[in-house]
């Protein structure tokens, strides 16, 4: 992956920065004190800004003579804790005094920072070396400046937090006293800087609490929805309930005449885009406050829509079509090894089952919003809670015909992301409305709009057949996967975004024969990545079906999985785009979760209570989870506890947040087992949290998270703890009741027992 961070950006090294970036943004100044060395922030008021002058040592580090160290957080913060964690890597190798660090959110600036994205759990593997090197390079410059001043060799010097120390004499010079000299030195090549031995870490591996928490619990305005700029008006954007509909007419003049309304106009669709997540056609209502705009739009605005040819879309039709397609020959083979058909014919036992999961919506709690100002001079300034700022800039440039260089985008804290904000429809909408209104506008969506216009996690249908030989050994797996597609330019159906499965989905390559085949039906809805994309769906189907196969083989579900993992994998295990896993790492986490959960004592549980297991490899992380579920005779069910063991390498960089992320992923996964999005008459049926429920505190289980440390480079944690919890819970429901969950969401009536 291209990463512009591998060289220091020397052009900015000597800049004196007067104050925090974000001109015109009233919520600028993102600094909060971390007053204690264990990273516990306090409620003390934040300093307004670091004492000037501040010297940029490199693109990420600026040090003031008073010792304040400003570290830029380059990536979008969506709740994954990256704004705290990435600066920890820099601070560690800089040997900074963490209590003197202030973290500042960088703007969108890929020339300076390299790729800026919150997605794919990429940030840890992408920055583990680079950010430590960036800190170490600055430390090397401070050491060299001290050596020059003391007229000694660099070898005679070491550092303590924020100090250079002359070992022989004990003489100390604070970084703040050296920075002016250090900034004049040439920056070393990042590849050549020496990094600390892990045993010397003072910051990495220590619990550093969420940097923004003090501001959050005080209710300070730090989210996108809180942005306020001079002269700003508030916008509501009415789009059709049917995807891609066009405006025929609208009573815009009537709306404009209402009290408090500033403007009302039709916004034309932007350049066509195949994902349907660009600028859609609609009617903007601009007002002096948002509620007035929303009330006018939802109660008085009358729009006649040309709904186009997708208004017949319905989930009931999709389900019927999926059954029909499953009976026929697949459209394409995704991957195969051996001869699954022959193995199924020769099997002592064949296990057959179909699994279904629904479309899902992301629904981060902060509704979509962006503030944009298309200025008279042709420049654009944007404040947006986005996971991928470059996407918004690209869409604005294309839709408004503006040079990308004229667009400035400030990333605000995001009230959740989960993949939703990788798309930038709400960003381009704000800019388009600002341009037509001629004023800065804050566009805000309602929750109902969020549910109706999401890049949904696609639903899917897996039709499995497994072969067991006379010894209960799995010899083949066939999966006819039915999913959604749209015609490409040549007219052939191709899968929608994230409506896919990996060619090397487990146990491909760990059994002698497999065949993964695919059929597609037309789906005219937007789709996209939801936290642990593809994995969050396919893991449920595969790890649930494997449970069925294990029990059909008369084996303990963990023993059965360990036997599969013990096979020497063939090339099929690493075929396709997704890296193959190292089976021994999965074996270890599976054994560990067996131990921690008391799996082997589960036979003593009463009917209605059961344990289930699943594992999954995604985003380079190895996770095995056991869920304990209690199901009442009437089918009311709850997860009592989840044990989670993960291997994400040699370091848990910020352990207090790592625990939080894994706990959250598990709650999120259980929440998904209650949720669905369906379509009827081309429209999304669900509209708010009363029909698209979020798990609440009374249904959140106790959670035991353990990280199994291995000698591998650290990898990301935003996503990989999520996928296994769904099948672990589903398998536990089976253990509790004998009712196999082959369809999500889990319906109470389907799990009742006597």
């Amino acid at each position: 992956m291209a990463d512009g961070n591998n060289t220091l950006n020397t052009s900015r090294r000597f800049f004196l920065l007067a104050s925090a970036a974000g001109g015109g943004l009233l919520l600028s100044g993102c600094m909060t004190p971390a007053d204690t060395t264990d990273g516990a922030p306090t409620l003390a008021a934040a300093p307004a800004k670091p004492a000037a002058p501040v010297v940029d040592v490199n693109s990420f580090i600026a040090i003031s003579p008073d010792g304040t160290i400003r570290i830029m957080a380059k990536n979008p913060e969506i709740g994954q804790g990256i704004k705290t964690m990435l600066p920890m890597l820099i601070a560690e190798e800089l040997d900074a005094d963490w209590s003197r660090v202030v973290i500042e959110q960088g703007d969108a600036d890929q020339a300076r920072y390299g790729m800026q994205i919150a997605g794919g759990s990429f940030a840890t593997p992408m920055h583990w070396d680079n950010h430590r090197q960036t800190g170490a390079a600055a430390r090397a410059m401070l050491l060299l400046a001290a050596a020059t001043r003391l007229n000694v060799s660099v070898d005679e010097l070491s550092t303590q937090p924020s100090m250079v120390v002359h070992t022989a004499t004990g003489k100390k010079i604070a970084y703040g006293d050296l920075v002016a000299d250090a900034a004049k030195l040439p920056a070393p090549d990042l590849k050549t800087v020496k990094l600390k031995d892990a045993k010397d870490y003072r910051i990495i591996g220590k619990p550093m609490r969420n940097w923004d928490s003090p501001r959050i619990v005080r209710g300070e305005p730090i989210f996108g929805i809180d942005v306020k700029v001079a002269g700003m008006k508030y916008a509501y954007f009415e789009k059709a309930a049917v995807f891609g509909a066009k405006v025929v007419s609208a009573n815009t003049d009537e709306i404009k005449a209402l009290p408090g309304i500033v403007d009302c106009f039709v916004v034309k669709a932007g350049p066509a885009n195949t994902t349907k997540m660009g600028l859609s056609e609609g009617v903007a209502v601009v007002a002096e406050d948002w509620w007035t705009a929303k009330e006018a739009a939802t109660k008085k605005l009358k729009v006649q829509w040309d709904e186009g040819d997708t208004s017949g879309q319905a989930s009931a039709k999709f389900d019927a079509k999926a059954v029909e397609l499953a009976k026929g020959a697949p459209l394409a083979n995704l991957s195969k090894s051996g001869d699954a058909t022959a193995a199924l014919k020769a099997a002592a036992k064949v296990v057959e089952a179909s699994y279904v999961y629904p479309f899902l919506v992301h629904a981060p709690l902060e509704p979509m919003n962006t503030t944009a100002h298309v200025k008279a001079d042709g420049t654009v300034e944007v404040w947006s809670p986005t996971q991928r700022p470059s996407g918004g800039i690209d869409l604005i440039a294309a839709a408004l015909g503006i040079d990308k260089a004229k667009i400035t985008l400030h990333m605000t804290r995001c009230g959740g992301g989960f993949g939703r904000r990788l798309d930038s429809d709400f960003v381009v909408e704000a800019a388009a409305i600002s341009k037509q209104a001629g004023v800065p506008v804050k566009l805000l969506w309602t929750r109902e709009q969020d549910m109706a216009h999401d890049p949904y996690r696609p639903g899917g249908y897996h039709n499995f057949k497994a072969a067991l030989d006379k010894d209960g050994k799995m010899t083949a797996l066939a999966n006819h996967f039915v999913t959604f597609g749209r015609p490409n330019s040549g007219g052939a159906l191709t899968p929608l975004s994230n409506a896919t499965m990996a060619a090397n989905e487990f146990p491909a390559g760990y059994i002698p024969n497999h065949s993964f085949d695919q059929s597609l039906m037309l789906g005219e809805m937007p789709t996209g990545p939801l936290r642990a994309p593809v994995s969050n769906a396919v893991c449920f189907a595969h790890q649930s079906f494997l449970d069925e196969v294990a029990l059909a083989a008369g084996k303990d579900p963990i023993d059965f999985r360990l036997e599969l993992l013990a096979a020497a994998p063939t090339a099929a295990a690493s075929a396709g785009g997704r890296p193959g896993m190292v089976a021994s790492r999965m074996i270890d986490v599976l054994k560990a979760v067996r131990e921690r959960s008391g799996w082997d004592n589960r036979k003593s549980l009463p009917k209605g209570t059961g344990l289930g297991v699943a594992f999954y490899f995604s985003h380079s992380g190895y996770f095995a989870e056991v869920a304990k579920v209690k199901v009442e005779p009437n089918g009311a069910w709850r997860v009592l506890k989840v044990w989670c063991v993960g291997d994400i390498g040699s370091q848990i960089i910020n352990p207090i947040n790592a625990q939080n992320q894994a706990q959250g992923a598990i709650v999120d996964g259980i929440s998904e087992m209650h949720q669905k999005i369906t379509f009827d008459k081309g429209r999304t049926t669900q509209s708010n949290f009363y029909d698209m429920p979020l798990l609440r505190i009374d249904y959140a289980p106790q959670i035991d998270v353990h990280f199994h440390i291995t000698n591998n480079p650290p990898t990301g944690l935003g996503e990989p703890a999520l996928p296994p919890v769904l099948p672990a819970v589903a398998n536990a429901i089976y253990a509790a009741t004998g009712k196999r969950i082959r369809s999500l969401p889990v319906a109470q009536k389907d799990v009742s027992w006597t």
Binding site: N660, Q661, A665
Partner: protein, 160 residues
């Protein structure tokens, strides 16, 4: 439009707005108090939780004409109360926050709970907090932080 005199965080504020405008939007767009969050607009998520005379209310469905002389307390001022400050501190010590968007509402609901029940049990927490959704799923820590703030044993006593 009508004029309303409100008691917000101990200050008298006068606004001239539509009688049906929800308190949430008066706070956010008219009084520039942005700590109270919009999540659903239908009292289904709890992000907009404030106190009216010390009791939990969902500001997104509270029409301004219904507020009257009730004391409105928002997240911006909750730290002025002893319980509110203890809750804020526990939220930091336990490191509850992920995205943080729901947490103002969580802190308000938790403060109201402890103010009326100094020693909440797990059952009390379930009842008082189930109206406040956390999309990031920080419930394990919300439970722990409430007990920390109340000074009770943090062990989860629910059935396992």
């Amino acid at each position: 439009m009508a004029s309303y005199t409100l008691n917000v965080n101990g200050k008298t504020e006068t606004v001239d707005v539509d009688p049906k405008m929800p308190l949430l939007w008066v706070l956010r767009d008219k009084l520039d108090l942005k700590g109270t969050k919009f999540g659903c607009g239908v009292a289904a998520c709890g992000a907009c939780t404030v106190h009216l005379d010390g009791k939990v209310a969902r500001a997104c469905v509270t029409e301004i004409q219904s507020v009257g002389a009730q004391r409105i307390t928002t997240i911006e001022a909750i730290g002025k109360t002893k319980v509110g400050q203890a809750v804020q501190k526990a939220w930091l010590d336990v490191d509850v926050v992920q995205c943080g968007y729901c947490q103002a509402g969580q802190v308000m609901a938790a403060t109201a709970l402890i103010a009326s029940n100094a020693h909440p049990t797990d059952k009390d927490i379930d009842v008082a907090m189930q109206g406040n959704a956390c999309r990031c799923g920080t419930y394990v820590r919300i439970r722990e932080a409430i007990k920390t703030a109340a000074g009770v044993d943090t062990k989860d006593t629910r059935e396992v």
